[in-house]
């Protein structure tokens, strides 16, 4: 009995290992309503695996506290606020109007000038691929991210606080000049009930043979809360790199072999 099997022959070795990039991209969420305000809000940076979140609060409504250059020099509280907000008075995690408000409705939020630095460390995401470590030119390669919503505790404005990070977007650069922005992290073919080498929402097809490095940046939305308080949205997002994948894209050949690999484990390609 002769059986025809598909044997995928890859040229060369496949190397797959994680590498971290030094810097992170920080994006600023800004809708049309936000553009009018000058896209206030996001000012974060990454050092290594951590994200340093810096915030400070200006003294509200004091005469003479209007930042130089701000309009409305008569010093209405909102003028001072907008001026300072335009100058990014507020950092990433506390880029919330409540903390930049002239007369806070929440008595728990201090009204004196304070300056605190809080370090929140979101868990970096990872990416994986199928087939594991190699790809076939002309066929779908399934990339997917491993990450989830998680809460990080720390100190914000001197008070214990939680920041909840939710991955919302996945920016893949495939190393072949193409990139894609996805709203799903994807998953294995098996988990999605999709046969191997078929398209998935996060799959990519390489046209050319060669070596490629795939990078993934994951965009996190964030919310914060002080102890016992409700979650408050943070305007803006923060983007962190996942591991890189280094792969070689090969070709697939069809060869004729006797028996399948179960019957003849020593056969070619088994």
């Amino acid at each position: 009995m002769v059986r025809l099997l598909l044997l995928l022959v890859l040229a060369g070795l496949i190397v797959l290992f994680p590498m971290s990039r030094a810097s992170a991209v920080v994006g600023a969420g800004c809708g049309v309503g936000g553009t009018i305000l000058g896209c206030p809000t996001v000012d974060g940076r990454s050092s290594g695996a951590s994200v340093v979140i810096t915030g400070n609060e200006t003294t509200p409504g004091q005469p003479g506290n209007v930042p130089s250059g701000a309009s409305g020099t008569s010093g209405p509280p909102s003028g001072a606020l907008l001026g300072s907000l335009g100058g990014r008075c507020i950092g990433f995690a506390i880029a919330n109007p409540d903390l930049c408000r002239a007369a806070p409705a929440d008595p728990g939020i201090p009204t004196i000038t304070i300056r605190d630095i809080a370090t929140f460390i979101p868990t970096p995401g990872r990416q994986q691929m199928e087939p594991d470590g190699w790809a076939v030119a002309g066929l779908d390669t399934n990339f997917y991210a491993i990450t989830d919503t998680h809460v990080v505790t720390g100190t914000l404005l001197g008070r214990p606080a939680d920041v909840r990070f939710t991955p919302t977007r996945y920016l893949w650069a495939y190393g072949d000049g193409s990139s894609a922005t996805k709203t799903t992290k994807g998953g294995t073919w098996a988990a999605q009930g999709i046969p191997e080498f078929e398209p998935t929402p996060t799959s990519h097809v390489y046209d050319q043979l060669g070596e490629y490095t795939i990078t993934l940046d994951i965009v996190f939305a964030a919310e914060y809360r002080f102890a016992g308080g409700p979650w408050r949205p943070v305007v803006g997002t923060i983007t962190l790199p996942a591991n890189d994948l280094h792969i070689r894209v090969g070709t697939a050949k069809t060869v004729l072999v006797e028996h399948d690999c179960l019957a003849n484990p020593a056969g070619p390609g088994c």
Binding site: A28, P76, T183, T237
Partner: protein, 180 residues
């Protein structure tokens, strides 16, 4: 018996001819049976532009109303983007400010698009000109941030499962050199 042997021989020849003719790739898997959202890139861009214009109008209307009734933008955005819109509206409301004048979309260019199954994702570069828009407080005092960008470059993600059901999923200020 002879017939069986013949069949085996034919099978072998077919297989061999398959091996000899270069390196044919396995046939590509069939595409999903569902109908794609868009037939062409032009169609996707046109639908995205229309969806963004509707969103932009709602978002700027809320700004001009000082953040009142912010859920008016909900039909045009995803749940995630709605949170951002609500936070922005809350900023207007809590500071007692509103906008005067309308932002103008001066640039709308496709960066990337894809569709899998019935879901399409479109990423566009957008320039929003706010130079003619002022921020004023309840007393009519101009409190426009002095260092505000007159034209804001944005990277916008638009998603949906039908040309007339596209939603703005995210909008981020472009951090690289401005394309506006």
């Amino acid at each position: 018996m002879r017939r069986v042997l013949g069949a085996v021989a034919v099978l072998g020849m077919l297989a061999l001819s398959g091996c000899g003719g270069g390196t044919p790739l396995p046939t590509l898997p069939p595409t999903p049976s569902s109908t794609p959202v868009f037939a062409s890139e032009e169609e996707a861009l046109a639908a995205a532009e229309e969806a963004y214009a509707a969103y932009s109008e709602a978002s700027s209307l809320i700004a001009s109303d000082g953040g009142a009734d912010p859920h008016r933008v909900a039909p045009y955005v995803t749940e995630e983007q709605l949170r951002n819109e609500l936070a922005t509206a809350d900023y207007y409301a809590s500071n007692g400010v509103h906008s005067v004048g309308s932002p103008v979309i001066t640039f709308f260019q496709l960066q990337d698009w894809s569709q899998a199954g019935t879901q399409a994702e479109i990423v566009v570069y957008v320039c929003v000109d706010v130079s003619m828009v002022r921020v004023v407080d309840s007393d009519g005092v101009d409190v426009t941030p002095p260092d505000r960008e007159p034209v804001v470059p944005l990277e916008v993600l638009i998603t949906g499962d039908a040309p007339d059901a596209l939603l703005v999923a995210s909008s981020e200020q472009w951090s690289g050199s401005s394309f506006c």
